[in-house]
């Protein structure tokens, strides 16, 4: 359970707050995505949730941030890391530099926590398996691709067994394969362990397919907070410069000319779009195509 209560935060030596009156409550096991233009406060929110604000960045914080009823300002950063894991954009900068193999890299956090060796070995094996990089265990973390490194970063956090995982644009520097790897890892994680996930992202297509909830930030404020479907199909989305999913754009334009049923919800995923467009089609051959191609894509 994460609870932000009227959080306003200003970085040192800046005039404008980066977060303004942000109140947000995320129940256990929810996958909450955060979108917003660059500079809207996504990273700041991620740092606030993981305790780096105010502990590392200092600056001025008002309001309260609680993780499972622990006030993040009342405990040290070191205590918080056992509750909240943080993954961010740059895969390279997340490698500790203290280790020579992926296995040891994942162990780094566990060693700091003082986990016993046998327990460590079990956790590492399990985590590497879950994230799908068991075959990389003996490679150098620095010899991997960005997508692989990002999964090592995620594994390093998961091994520490946090109840909350915060990810700040983890796929922005990755290619489509790397992006898919990261999203599938997150999905598996939520299904298997009920981890609470907060994800800042630009890739609307993926958010639509995976997230439970979508929060929109603009100028440090929460301006929308609802299901991905409701947010992504809302007319006011355009105001916040985060783009509109292509399927929504296409269906909206199609509705104008009668190609999309007026009473049908706008689609946010490929499947919904396919279904909607083919429902207004008369040819059964199209439906047949649809059934055949159903298993490809997402």
């Amino acid at each position: 359970m994460i609870a932000l209560d009227a959080v306003t935060y200003t970085y040192p030596a800046t005039a404008q707050p980066a977060l303004r009156e942000v109140s947000l409550s995320i129940p256990d096991g929810q996958f909450c995505a955060v979108i917003g233009a660059n500079g809207a406060g996504k990273s700041t929110l991620c740092y606030a949730l993981s305790g780096f604000i105010p502990h590392f960045f200092r600056g001025e914080l008002s309001g309260r941030i609680r993780i499972d009823d622990v006030d993040t300002q009342a405990v040290t950063l070191a205590e918080l890391v056992q509750r909240v894991g943080l993954v961010f954009q740059n895969p390279f900068n997340q490698m500790s530099g203290a280790k020579f193999t992926v296995r040891e890299e994942v162990a780094f956090g566990l060693e700091n926590l003082g986990v016993a060796r046998a327990e460590m070995q079990t956790r590492i094996a399990r985590t590497l398996e879950r994230v799908g990089i068991a075959d990389l265990a003996d490679r150098s973390p620095f010899a991997l691709s960005g997508g692989q490194q990002q999964r090592v970063a995620i594994a390093s956090m998961l091994a520490m067994d946090p109840r909350v995982l915060v990810l700040d644009e983890p796929t922005s520097q990755l290619d489509p394969i790397g992006t898919r790897e990261v999203f599938e890892t997150i999905r598996a994680l939520i299904e298997e362990r009920g981890t609470t996930v907060v994800l800042a992202e630009h890739k609307l297509e993926w958010i639509a397919a995976f997230a439970d909830r979508l929060v929109v930030l603009a100028h440090g404020r929460i301006v929308m907070d609802s299901s991905p479907r409701q947010v992504l199909t809302a007319p006011e989305l355009e105001r916040y410069h985060i783009g509109v999913p292509r399927y929504v754009q296409a269906a909206r334009a199609a509705r104008e000319i009668g190609l999309w049923p007026a009473d049908r919800d706008l689609p946010v995923t490929l499947d919904e779009a396919t279904e909607g467009f083919s429902s207004s089609s008369s040819l059964s051959s199209t439906r047949l195509d649809l059934r055949n191609s159903r298993n490809s894509g997402n």
Binding site: F52, F56, G85, S96, A98, E111, L113
Partner: protein
């Protein structure tokens, strides 16, 4: 940036790093305490060379040692051979002459350098630095110090890779990096600048990354890797302490001249 050689069989790799550190220190102490050129070569021939053969690294070791000591040796023989204070001339070259004492002095120091670097190389070529640091931490070296050393060893190759991308990026903006000295000097700032600035700015994010992994938790750390240490090795190390101590005592007492 690792000169550690893997894939070479040989029991030397499997020894506890502390044993090898002590071995290196013993060799160095012996080389400097024992008088005369003969002693340094005796120590090399009786300890370093056999061990490097046993460890299967004699070739790389000799190459590395030659690379390190050659510039010094040349300087020593030329400078000290020619300009050593006083001494007996044995070969005249115009206004200057090689002197016997100078050449002896040069030979002694060149030999010591050779021994010193070969002892270091014996350790470095057969000991993974990660394991070495871990072993030292387990014997009381502050973990933060070990972190700094290991992190440095990983950053230097990354620096080299980034330097190559920076070189490409600046040349693509019309920077000339070859030609006259002035031109090359002018290229230093655009080439070194992004490397230094970028890596210093990155420090913040990298600090966040290790903090998020509990780096500054103040509790006893554990270790994934277990370093084997046999009873025999423990005994060997005790023996290794005795040798240099005995030598130093002997030297101070004036038994060795």
């Amino acid at each position: 940036m690792l000169i550690y050689l893997t894939g070479r069989s040989g029991r030397l790799h499997g020894l506890n790093p502390i044993t090898k550190v002590m071995l290196t220190l013993v060799v160095i102490v012996c080389g400097f305490v024992l008088p005369g050129v003969w002693a340094t070569w005796l120590v090399f021939g009786s300890i370093v060379l056999p061990l490097s053969l046993w460890g299967g690294i004699a070739g790389p070791l000799l190459r590395a040692v030659a690379r390190i000591t050659l510039p010094f040796a040349i300087s020593l023989f030329v400078i000290q051979g020619l300009f050593f204070p006083g001494g007996t001339p044995i070969l005249s070259l115009g206004p200057v002459s090689f002197k016997a004492e100078g050449l002896q002095f040069a030979l002694l120091f060149a030999s010591r350098l050779f021994l010193l670097s070969s002892a270091f190389m014996l350790l470095l070529l057969t000991t993974h630095p990660g394991l070495l640091m871990l072993a030292l931490v387990q014997r009381g070296l502050p973990a933060n110090l070990a972190y700094i050393i290991v992190a440095t060893l990983q950053i230097v190759p990354r620096f080299q890779a980034r330097a190559a991308s920076i070189l490409d990026a600046q040349r693509a903006r019309g920077l000339e990096t070859t030609g006259s000295l002035v031109r090359r000097l002018r290229a230093i700032v655009p080439l070194v600048g992004p490397l230094v600035l970028g890596s210093l700015v990155d420090v913040e994010e990298r600090a966040i990354a290790i903090e998020a992994r509990g780096f500054s938790l103040r509790r006893p750390k554990t270790s994934l890797i277990d370093i084997p240490d046999s009873r025999a090795e423990k005994g060997l190390r005790r023996g290794l302490i005795i040798a240099p101590v005995a030598l130093i005592v002997a030297r101070l007492a004036g038994w060795l001249r």
